[in-house]
């Protein structure tokens, strides 16, 4: 069954050349094979693996392929992405954190921030 997966779709129609840096995916344990102590929500899904390396032979995204890892080891799996980006970032500033610095400096009554005294207008 197809998985919800971040496959780089735009490249799916193009041949990926041997030697390209790719990511592969495989199922390590199917739902019925999971460890007995695993909670129910996890029991229902497979244990999956993703790993990167250099493609051993030309292929298309979705094909079963072999890669050579950075350590020179051979690993088999389904080709899912070509040189995938790292998706993480610093994200947007979080409004709930934005004023903490000025609040604390105000508490210290320093750095040009007027100290708020009792009775002052907010």
């Amino acid at each position: 069954m197809a998985k919800v997966f971040d496959v780089v779709r735009s490249e799916s129609a193009e041949r990926v050349r041997a030697g390209e840096y790719v990511e592969i995916h495989s199922i390590i344990l199917k739902p019925g094979e999971r460890a007995p102590q695993v909670p129910e929500d996890t029991q229902r899904v497979p244990l999956e693996l993703r790993i990167k390396g250099y493609l051993d032979h030309d292929a298309f995204v979705g094909d079963e392929v072999t890669i050579t890892t950075v350590l020179g080891r051979k690993v088999k799996g389904q080709l899912v992405a070509v040189n995938p980006p790292y998706p993480h970032s610093f994200a947007r500033p979080v409004p709930e954190l934005l004023h903490i610095g000025e609040e604390l400096w105000r508490l210290l009554g320093a750095r040009g921030v007027k100290e708020v005294r009792e009775g002052d207008e907010p």
Binding site: V70, Y86, L107
Partner: protein, 475 residues
């Protein structure tokens, strides 16, 4: 020899696999149904403090700055009773090569692997330890595999873990990224068998000995900087190694009266192996999901006998909330000009609450920081939490509910610690020890060991056993 690779078959071989992958004959230290010779294991297998210093100097690990947090101390004094508000210092462990104290652990394991002639090292970790092992392996020219628990079943990963995976790849490691589940250990065992690499476990005597230098530096450098040994050292607690190694190092530095206080982020209610809870934790380490199980049963680790035995060393165990840790992370950046953490700032959050109880002339030391980066940042982690449906708001951190609501304090006086009663942890440990002994005869040697391992007394252990047995009888 042909061996099966099913989950059950591989798990059945775990002891043999682990034995050859760390080169330690753990059996020779066994002394009873429960007892084993802990100090004997540490002495024989570990290294002396001088040896560790030499190993760590070769790869530029340790001797990190001890920084006095003057503005944070001032904030604490403004919100404390007169005469209260201890000086707060932090050991800036982010100055280690890969950005955390974990380099201390990795340095010794990788040295050891190379020394013993293993072709490479493997570590199973989603945390800073992976980057540390990969970095140390790069320095010593050793091959490195890191196995991470990274994604949920929808292929989504916490930004913090994605960043740690990236860091491992940056240092040249082969990174195996798995979905949620404790079977990560099974994958790990298969890789050990397949490659013959060294198990750079977090829980070997090498790893713990590597942290002793941190405790030693905290003790001696605090004395030099302030004229006194630390009155309290706050340690972010997860698997127990940080508490164990730091406390052992403090003792070696002559700190006889320093309180060792463990601190974890409270993640009560979230299941660590749950596919749905996985991305709602907002913390990947330093939390109670590791802290409590590893305190109540350390031998759940990836080696037969865990060298990290935190109950021996903690004088007090407290928790803080997620929101409090994000708040103090912001405080550290804005008041001290240090962008660090967030997870490593768990102990800083606890220190702020604890310093308020202490006198002004006392000194409290937060013994670590960790690097901050893309993904490993309050903005990234809180944005991700929101995407996962977790509410983020300002308010009283007592309203914080792990996995549902992260409450960022509105004022530093709202930062509090919650005590974890050590007596409960000790009882729970003893119950686990008895159940693992599986009905074998418990000797006085075992009782003495349990007293040592729980930092209690023979009388307490005997009484607890009587209670437990009585409870079963009535049950």
């Amino acid at each position: 020899m042909i061996s099966g690779t099913s989950y059950a078959e591989v798990m059945a071989r775990r002891h043999d696999i682990m034995k050859s992958a760390v080169g330690i004959d753990y059996e020779k230290f066994e002394t009873g149904a429960i007892a084993f010779d802990y100090e004997g294991m540490m002495d024989e297998v570990g290294y002396t403090l001088e040896e560790i210093h030499a190993i760590q100097e070769e790869t530029s690990v340790g001797r990190t700055p001890l920084v006095e947090l003057r503005n944070i101390t001032e904030v604490v004094r403004r919100i404390s009773d007169p005469g209260r508000g201890a000086r707060i210092l932090v050991k800036d462990e982010s100055a280690n090569p890969s950005g955390s104290f974990k380099d201390r652990r990795a340095s010794v394991s990788v040295y050891c692997a190379k020394n013993k002639g293993y072709p490479g090292v493997i570590a199973a970790t989603s945390g800073n330890y992976g980057a540390a092992v990969a970095s140390q392996a790069a320095k010593r020219g050793v091959k490195c595999i890191i196995v991470q628990e990274t994604y949920d079943s929808k292929g989504r990963g916490q930004p913090e873990i994605i960043e740690k995976g990236r860091a491992c790849e940056a240092y040249g490691a082969e990174v195996h990224q798995l979905t949620v589940g404790p079977e990560l250990f099974y994958v790990f065992l298969r890789l050990l068998e397949e490659t013959g690499f060294f198990n750079a476990s977090l829980y070997t005597p090498f790893s713990i000995a590597g942290i002793e230098t941190l405790g030693y530096e905290v003790g001696t450098e605090t004395l030099r900087a302030t004229g006194r040994y630390p009155d309290a050292v706050i340690v972010t607690h997860a698997g127990g190694g940080n508490v164990t190694g730091t406390a052992r190092g403090l003792r070696k530095a002559g700190c006889r009266h320093t309180q060792v206080i463990a601190a974890s982020v409270d993640l009560t209610g979230l299941h660590m192996a749950s596919d749905t809870d996985f991305n709602r934790k907002s913390f990947t380490t330093g939390h109670t999901g590791f802290g409590i199980p590893f305190a109540t049963w350390p031998d759940r680790a990836d080696v037969p006998r865990n060298a990290a035995r935190p109950l021996r060393y903690m004088d007090r165990y407290v928790t803080v909330t997620q929101g409090e840790v994000f708040y103090v992370t912001e405080m550290l950046a804005k008041l001290e000009g240090m962008e660090r953490g967030p997870a490593g700032n768990t102990s800083l959050a606890a220190a702020i609450a604890i310093a308020r109880e202490m006198d002004r002339d006392q000194v409290v030391v937060v013994q670590e920081t960790e690097y901050t980066g893309a993904g490993k940042h309050p903005y990234a982690q809180l944005s991700f939490a929101r995407e996962m449906g977790v509410e983020v708001m300002r308010g009283d951190p007592r309203e914080n509910v792990p996995g549902k609501r992260i409450v960022i304090p509105e004022h530093p006086s709202q930062i509090r610690v919650k005590e974890v009663p050590l007596v409960d942890i000790r009882r729970s440990y003893i119950r686990n020890a008895l159940s693992h002994a599986k009905g074998r005869q418990i000797s006085i040697e075992d009782i003495r060991f349990l007293a040592e391992d729980t930092n209690s007394t023979v009388a307490f252990v005997e009484e607890t056993i009587r209670e437990l047995e009585g409870g079963e009888g009535r049950g």
